[in-house]
Structures are given as C-alpha cells and as structure tokens.
C-alpha cells in the first residue's frame, strides 16, 4: 500500500470542498480521479501533497503519516500541478537541477536524473532553452519531468493533458504507462473519460466533495448499465426545451452541455425520432447527433444528473 487516505475533509468558509474521502492505492497502480469543475479534486490532491492542512482525516504515504513525518512522506511523492510550476527565466535543465536538489538528489545523481527525465518527456533537444520560450504543451511536459525526476513512488497528476495538442497528449499518455510499468503509483485527475478509461485501472468519481462511484473501469461500466448516451447538438439550446426532452418516455436523464443536449436512455431508437421531431417543431436546427455506448460519462450522468464537462 503506497497511499492510504482516510475520511479526508476540508472546507473553505461554508463550502465543503472535500467531505470525507477515502482512498487506497497500491504500487504500480493508476487511479483515475474524475469529477466536474469544483468537485474537490485539486483540493484533495493539495492535501495529499502536504500543501493544505486537512480539517479531519489522515494521509499515509508509504507507511509515513504525512502530519507526523512530513519529510519522509514527501520524499516518496512527486507532483504534477494543474498549472505548470516552473521558473520561467531559467532553462529547462536549470529548472530540473533545482527541483532535483530540492527532492534531495545528490550532485552525483543529478545529471543522470535530469537527462533521464528530459528524455522521458522528449525535451532533451530543448534542454538549454529558457522556459519562457516554451510552448504551452512543452511547459506541461517539463512540469511532468519536474515531478518524476526523483523517481517518486507516488505521482500526483492534476489534469496533465488540459490544453495540450494531440501529439503532446499522446506523449503524456505514453509517459504514464511507462511510469506505471516501472512501479510508480499514479493518481490521475481529468475531465476526459476517454483517457481515464484508457490509462486507469481503477477510477474514483467525485462530485461535490464526495466519492459517488469507485471501482475498476469494467465494474463501473457495468454499473452504468446498458443506457446509451444520445448527444444532440443544436443551434440554440435552452432550458424550456430541456424539460420537454426529459419528459419524453424512455429518457432517464437529460442535461444541457454547451451547445448540446445529452439524453440517457435504454431505447435510443425510440427516443431519437421523438426528440428530433420535437426540436424541429421548436424551430431549432440540429447540427449533429451522436449515440455513445455506455461510458463513465453516462455513469456520472446517471448518478448525479450532471455532466462531467461544461463543454
């Protein structure tokens, strides 16, 4: 057991950002943390990273209690924050040398560790350049390098693929898989169900500071049932239309996400014509229709009546 979190709680004023989270993580396991904006993912990770004092609960990393033995616990930990945390005026190599020193690497180990981390994220060629001149995706990759430099046993990755081009995203996915093979335990937060389904053996779905579902991807998909997700993109979605769509027989849940309505149903072939006809009768233009097989997104929709993503 590399990480043990018990009954973790944290409030900001009256808002309960984290309301009693439990989680266990084994060596070499990748745990996906899914949840909509404000679910409490970053707050949970900040407490595990020793940045926020929990109000209640305990965190144990590699057998070390984070409160009582913070330095020993933190030595096993690597973090990849949501926003790249680097010194913009320094070169990539200088940044990594500094962060390696802070993680307690000896001078003799430093060069090798820096070179390896740069190679893992594919930035060896650009190592001498200052970080200000890096593209957004390159900064995110260097941010990951800074987190894995000291070969942590537990790596926390907070939405590492947000705003990253497909090429960098693939690279990041490959990095996660390679680290996992090397025995690193990883907590991976994301809004994207596809990458969580691909990378994570186990998934924890959070909403409003609580865990609403947990299990392996297969288990969760079973729990999602056979309900399909019907996505209908229109030109002007609005609330009044949504409530009429919800009333269509066979619709379990319906939400409005950006320009689209998402309907959860067991009988897509029956619901779709009715929904389509209704939308046309309201003078709306339908620009796209998609039918998804059950995924974590539809499970979340089923459990909370909300969408994981705003867009």
């Amino acid at each position: 057991m590399i990480l043990e979190v018990k009954q973790l709680e944290k409030s900001f004023g009256a808002r309960r950002a984290v309301a009693g989270i439990n989680l266990l993580l084994n060596e070499g396991e990748v745990l996906g943390l899914l949840g909509p904006n404000g679910a409490g993912k970053t707050t949970t990770l900040a407490m595990i990273g020793g940045l926020l004092q929990p109000e209640a609960g305990s965190i144990t990393i590699g057998g070390w209690d984070l409160q009582r033995h913070p330095l020993q616990a933190k030595a096993l930990l690597g973090i990849v924050p949501q926003e790249p945390a680097l010194y913009p005026q320094l070169s990539a190599a200088a940044n990594l040398r500094f962060w390696g020193t802070m993680q307690g690497l000896q001078r003799s180990e430093l060069n090798k560790a820096v070179a390896e981390a740069l190679a893992v994220v594919g930035l060896t060629e650009r190592a001498r350049e200052r970080v200000v001149n890096y593209s957004g995706g390159m900064k995110r990759r260097l941010n990951i390098a800074a987190g894995i430099l000291h070969r942590p046993k537990l790596l926390i990755m907070d939405e590492p693929t947000v705003g990253v081009d497909p090429q960098s995203r693939n690279h990041i996915h490959e990095t996660v898989k390679r680290l996992q093979c090397a025995g690193t335990a990883i907590i991976y937060t994301s809004h994207y169900v596809e990458e969580v389904e691909e990378l994570c053996g186990r998934v924890l779905i959070m909403d409003a500071g609580k865990v609403v579902a947990a299990g392996t991807v297969a288990e969760l998909l079973r729990a999602a049932g056979h309900a399909q997700e019907l996505v209908i993109k229109v030109n002007r979605p609005h609330q009044a239309v949504l409530s009429r769509l919800t009333a269509i027989p066979g619709v379990r849940e319906a939400v409005m996400v950006g320009q689209a309505f998402k309907l959860l149903t067991l009988k897509a072939e029956q619901v779709l014509p009715l929904a389509y006809e209704y939308l046309l009768s309201q003078g709306l233009q339908v620009s796209a229709i998609e039918i998804h097989k059950p995924n974590l997104e539809s499970l979340f929709l089923k459990l909370t009546g909300k969408s994981l993503r705003d867009q």
Binding site: A46, G49, G50, L51, L52, Q53, L71, Q72, K74, A75, L77, I79, P81, E83, P84, A85, L86, Y87, P88, Q89, L90, A94, F98, W99, T101, M102, Q103, G104, A146
Partner: protein, 241 residues
Amino acid sequence: MMKKCLAITAVGFQQMFADPMYLIFTLALPLLLTWAMSFLPREAGVYEMALLGVLVMFVALNLLTSAGSILEEKQQGTWQRLRSSATPYRAIMAGYLLRFSLVAAVQALLLLLSGKLLFGAPWNQGYGELAVVLAVYIFAMTGLGLFLAGLFKTQGQVQAAATGIVLVGSMLGDIFFPMENPSTAIKFITAISPQSWAAHALKDILLQGAALASLVKPLLWMGGLGLLLLTAGLLRLKTEM
C-alpha cells in the same frame, strides 16, 4: 539542508538578474537620486542626511518587493512545488531570507561607496557601527516584508503597501526636510518610522562617530519590530497556501 538552502538563494539570484527592471529599481534609480542630492547645499548635514535618506528608502523598497516575490511564486506555483518537496520549511525560508538580506546589504554598500567616491560624501569613520545598524535595519525591513507577504494575496498589493509605508516613513520622518512645529501626528510617525531611526543613526555614526552605546534605542526598536513582524510572517506563510 544547507545545500538546499543555498540552492534556493541561487535560483532567486538568477531570477532577479534576469529582470532588468529590478536592477534599475534597486540600483540605477537610487544612484540617480544620490547624484541629484549632491546638488543640495553642503551645510549643517542636510546633504549627508538626504543621501542616507535615499539609502534607507530604497533598501526598504527593495526588501519589501523581494519578500513580495514570494506571492509571485505562489501564483506561479513554484512555492507550492517547493512546499510539497522533501525540503523543511526552515530551509526554504532560510534560503529566501539569505538572498533578500544579501542583496540589500550589497545595495546599501554600493550606495554608500558611490556616495563617497562619486559625490564626495564625507564617510570615513564608524564602519563597524555602520554594519551593525544596517544589519538591524535590514532585519527589520525583511520582517516587515514577510509580514506583508503573509497578509496580502498579490505582489501588487505588497508593492502598494510598501510604497505607502516607506514614503510616509521617509518623507514625514524628519529626513529630507526639517519641519517647524510638526503636528502630533507627524511627531508620532517620526517616532515610530524605522526609516527615520535608521537614517539618523547612520548619520550620527558617519558624521559624529557615535558609539553603539548611544544607539541602543533605535537598535532595540528596529530589532524588536523586526522580530515581531518576521515571526508573524513566518507563521502565516507556513499555513497559508
């Protein structure tokens, strides 16, 4: 632990020297003012006092801005990364404080030297006492800086507060111009202003060869104030993310 502390100091230096505005603000601007002050009438210590006034003002502004840079690091996330690393808080803070005070000491030294060599200021005694008073003043301003960094959320807020505090403390601190019958409010500000205490102590040392024994009051006031603010700032920065 020592190595980590020095690495933090070194990275801080690299950040600072990458920013030309910072060097202009800490050295070029006070040098320009020192030069301007050299046209003041050379009588009754007015000129010397003004030079030392420029020095205490800019050393304070430098230290407060430096401490405020911790808030920039918070926004940039590097503070959080440091805090989640296996580095003790005291090593982190020692690294920062070492950098702040070194830069301030070098700045003060350069201003004193250029005053003497370029603009004919009569500094030629009391160097030991000078070092003590400067060190205590730097300590006090570092404390104020950390206190402000703990109190506020952004570097902009720290800079606004710093400018207010230092300008009031210097301009109303009986340094640049004498006041006839000042109001009680102004007398009070003069009495508590570290800028005023420091500038007068430095002048007494450099012009009259004052001994430390006669400077117990300013040293105690600045040292005590510094200790209080530094402690408050350190405690607050430790818990406040």
